[in-house]
């Protein structure tokens, strides 16, 4: 049983239930799509950090390249990597003699919310002599090029019907001839929307501990064709109890595959050493669990055969299903493509600790050669991703800790210098407002976030009355630790029940240890000075310096928690995607 966590509190948590963060708990591991890491997490039964999607391609009005017949088209899909190189994602099959093909072969792509994923499509006419060869082996240089199209993955998924039609053009965009169109349709790979929420209870469990009662938890695994089983989830540990009731676990169809698929349910006694002892087990499919729920009967646990005993022993301990409910778990994509909008807001640190902007060592130095400083980089990277999801492109932008022209220090001034209007247009508008603000506002201090957070919370709160499906994201870029942590905590707690997420980027070399309290990833909920406790974790803090050491970009680290924070808001309120009809019982 060595694959359980060794930290006791962490080890006692429930893992893998589909209702939890898509993102497997946020903060900490993984960078981008790493297949080895992905397989590891899937083997442990945890969700991967991205959504696997299938692209279906079709084309119309392709050029006719063959003399005697029509073209035999095939499409190839590439992903453009950060260094500009193209990585092939897959190819469709070859369709004979067709200028308006609809390919059957799907291309798999992993949709990652937090990075810009440019796709390039090439359509080729495959020569007859290659028709009987597997598509993979074809050398594209030998084929006739029919056209190229490009787009970004998020462009496809934000469309209501998840289909995007592109015009095909020549490579390098030379020539304006009409080469036809390509339509790309994206779908999530497995119907993981269907889920089942089950409340398990056990009675008369056997005592495995010496001086107290057992600390039982359940582990649920799915049997695989090769004969083994893959754990898909485990419940939390209930201490010192032989008749435990666990919190409901949520299993997605992706995890249990089908209702007839047998699941292995094992009941262990938790030991801090990691050597958990098996109390009993049972094999039941989801359909059988449904029957158990309806009949309100219990099923006896079985103790497997061991060295002393050849046969299995049926125990007096029983397991019951107190509740079993089918649910629809909509994913982050479901909401976005149905019309939910993300709204971006920025706040920039104007405290003196950044250094005089005229000095090249300052974090606010505007390099005439065009090299972006840390602030500009963060605004550009995060803004570029989010602006796909923010249709009106009006972004509130503020500065804090700066001295206004009338001499007073403000902790929430409009970056564009206007006394009343805090919005700018597009990411380029934020960059322009930032550049002029550096000239117009003197750096001062101290570092206080409370006012900008309150302002963002006001905006998010006001949007609730107008019934627009909007979720707000406040990006705070700072070089130092907050002077008044409790003030910030109070503002965050007050905003914790609103459709708002706060992303904080730490630039420069300060020690940001204290700021990690705001991130609440260790499970300690933030408490305000008035006794109110944060409803949910809405902060993600990333120190830029640490991130650049690894492979992950700042924006990936920052936006890693965003889908799960968004989902915690909508699921907690039972808000469904906009195009879903109201629930019928």
């Amino acid at each position: 049983m060595g694959n359980f966590c060794s930290d006791v509190k962490g080890g006692q948590q429930a893992v893998g239930g589909g209702n939890q963060a898509i993102g497997g708990g946020g903060g900490g591991y993984s960078a981008g799509h790493n297949e080895a890491v992905d397989f590891f997490f899937r083997a442990k039964g945890e969700h991967a950090l991205f959504t696997p999607m299938e692209l279906s391609l079709s084309a119309t009005k392709l050029r006719d390249r063959d003399i005697m017949s029509k073209s035999d088209p095939m499409a190839v899909v590439y992903m453009k990597k950060r260094d500009g190189k193209l990585e092939e994602l897959g190819r469709t099959e070859v369709i004979m003699n067709n200028l308006d093909p609809t390919w059957i072969q799907k291309i798999n792509v992993t949709y990652q919310f937090e990075i810009v994923q440019p796709l390039i499509f090439h359509v080729y006419d495959v020569d007859t002599k290659y028709h009987n060869l597997p598509v993979k082996t074809l050398d594209l240089k030998d084929q006739d090029f029919l056209g190229e199209a490009s787009c970004v993955v998020s462009e496809i998924v934000t469309k209501r019907n998840r289909s995007l039609t592109l015009n095909l053009h020549n490579r390098d965009g030379r020539g304006l001839k009409n080469l036809g169109t390509l339509t790309v349709h994206a779908e999530e790979t497995v119907a993981s929307r269907n889920a089942v929420e089950i409340t398990f209870r056990c009675s008369a469990l056997v005592n495995k501990d010496l001086f107290s009662k057992s600390d039982p938890f359940l582990r649920i695994s799915r049997t695989v064709e090769t004969g083994g089983s893959i754990p898909i989830c485990k419940t939390e540990v209930v201490n010192n109890n032989l008749n435990p009731i666990w919190k409901p676990v949520c299993l997605t169809m992706q995890q249990f595959v089908s209702k007839e698929n047998p699941l292995v349910i094992e009941c262990f006694d938790f030991n801090t050493s990691g050597n958990h002892q098996l109390i009993g087990k049972l094999q039941k499919s989801v359909a059988e669990l449904e029957t158990l729920y309806q009949s309100k009967a219990g099923a006896n646990l079985i103790s497997p055969s061991s060295g002393f005993r050849r046969r299995e022993k049926v125990l007096k301990s029983e397991i019951f299903v107190d509740r079993l409910v089918e649910k629809q778990l909509y994913s982050f994509l479901d909401y976005i493509s149905s019309g939910f909008e993300l709204s971006f807001m920025v706040a920039v640190d104007f405290t003196a600790s950044n250094g005089d902007p005229r000095n090249p060592t300052s974090l606010h130095y505007i390099d005439p050669s065009g090299r972006l400083n840390a602030y500009q980089q963060a605004i550009l990277e995060v803004g570029e991703v989010i602006q796909f999801y923010d249709s009106d492109r009006h972004f509130p932008a503020w500065g804090f800790g700066g001295r206004t022209p009338n001499g007073s220090v403000s902790h929430c001034f409009n970056l564009n210098g206007s006394p009343s209007d805090f919005e700018v247009e597009g990411v380029e508008g934020i960059m322009a407002a930032y550049r002029s603000a550096i000239h117009n506002f003197a750096l001062a201090g101290p570092t206080l976030f409370g006012q900008v957070i309150n302002k963002a919370a006001d905006i998010a709160g006001h949007s609730l009355s107008s019934h627009h499906a909007k979720y707000y994201i406040l990006l705070i870029i700072t070089d130092g630790v907050v002077s008044d942590l409790q003030e910030t905590i109070n503002s965050v707690v007050r905003a914790s029940d609103l459709p708002l997420s706060i992303l904080i980027v730490g630039v420069g070399n300060a020690d940001f240890k204290e700021m990690e309290i705001l991130d609440a990833d260790n499970g300690d909920r933030l408490e305000s000075s008035s006794g109110r406790i944060a409803t949910r974790d809405i902060v993600q803090f990333v120190p830029m310096r640490e991130v650049h050491v690894g492979q992950m970009s700042v924006v990936q680290a920052l936006l890693e928690e965003l889908p799960s924070q968004f989902l915690s808001y909508v699921r907690g309120r039972d808000i469904k995607p906009l195009n879903v009809p109201p629930a019928s019982s």
């Binding site: 409340t199 939390e236 209930v238 201490n239 009731i245 666990w246 919190k247 107190d322 919370a457 006001d458 709160g461 006001h462 609730l464 009355s465 029940d497 909920r525 408490e527 008035s530 006794g531 109110r532 406790i533 944060a534 409803t535 949910r536 907690g572 309120r573």
Partner: protein, 168 residues
């Protein structure tokens, strides 16, 4: 003397975490219930806690009248007949300000025992079913006794006092 219109609130007591009896043992779920008071004479209580999970859960909705001038509601966790922890919830946290009418607020508060020590967290949700004016009690500026402490300024905010001797 017209009677000011009062609103009704729906409070759903969801669950509580980390409640201890006598600072040592976790409270037995099946003896615990929660009482909500909008003023000293108006209270409603939940039933006894369910055995679900390791912390007590009720998921029970209480509907109460909220007097127009109420600034706080009090939530008490009781075991048998004893109050083991309380929390005071400012009305401004779930009504008025930037929140729209009929907004469902999910809130959590620190519970403290009779001596002011921390004793758990209570999770609940509140919805105000307003009638008309749309202004909540917390935004009414006066109507309470006592002398204003600071000159002519009325700040209108809510302050929660915690006895200094027991601060953390």
């Amino acid at each position: 003397m017209e009677k000011p219109s009062s609103k009704t609130i729906e409070i759903t007591i969801i669950s509580a975490e980390g409640l201890l009896i006598n600072k040592k043992q976790p409270a037995k779920k099946t003896n615990l219930f929660i009482t909500v008071k909008t003023d000293p004479f108006n209270s409603r209580s939940t039933g006894l806690g369910h055995e679900g999970g390791s912390s007590p859960a009720w998921n029970e909705k209480l509907v109460m009248e909220l007097p127009v001038h109420a600034r706080f509601i009090t939530v008490e966790a009781r075991s048998a007949s004893r109050i083991i922890a309380t929390a005071n919830i400012p009305v401004s946290d779930f009504a008025g300000g930037h929140l729209p009418e009929n907004y469902l607020s999910f809130l959590s508060y620190r519970l403290r025992d009779a001596s002011g020590e921390k004793n758990g967290i209570i999770n609940l949700s509140v919805k105000v079913n307003g009638t008309g004016n749309g202004r909540c009690a917390a935004s009414c500026s006066r109507q309470w006794m006592g002398v204003q402490a600071v000159g002519n300024k009325v700040s209108g905010g809510i302050v929660t006092g915690i006895p200094a001797a027991y601060r953390y």
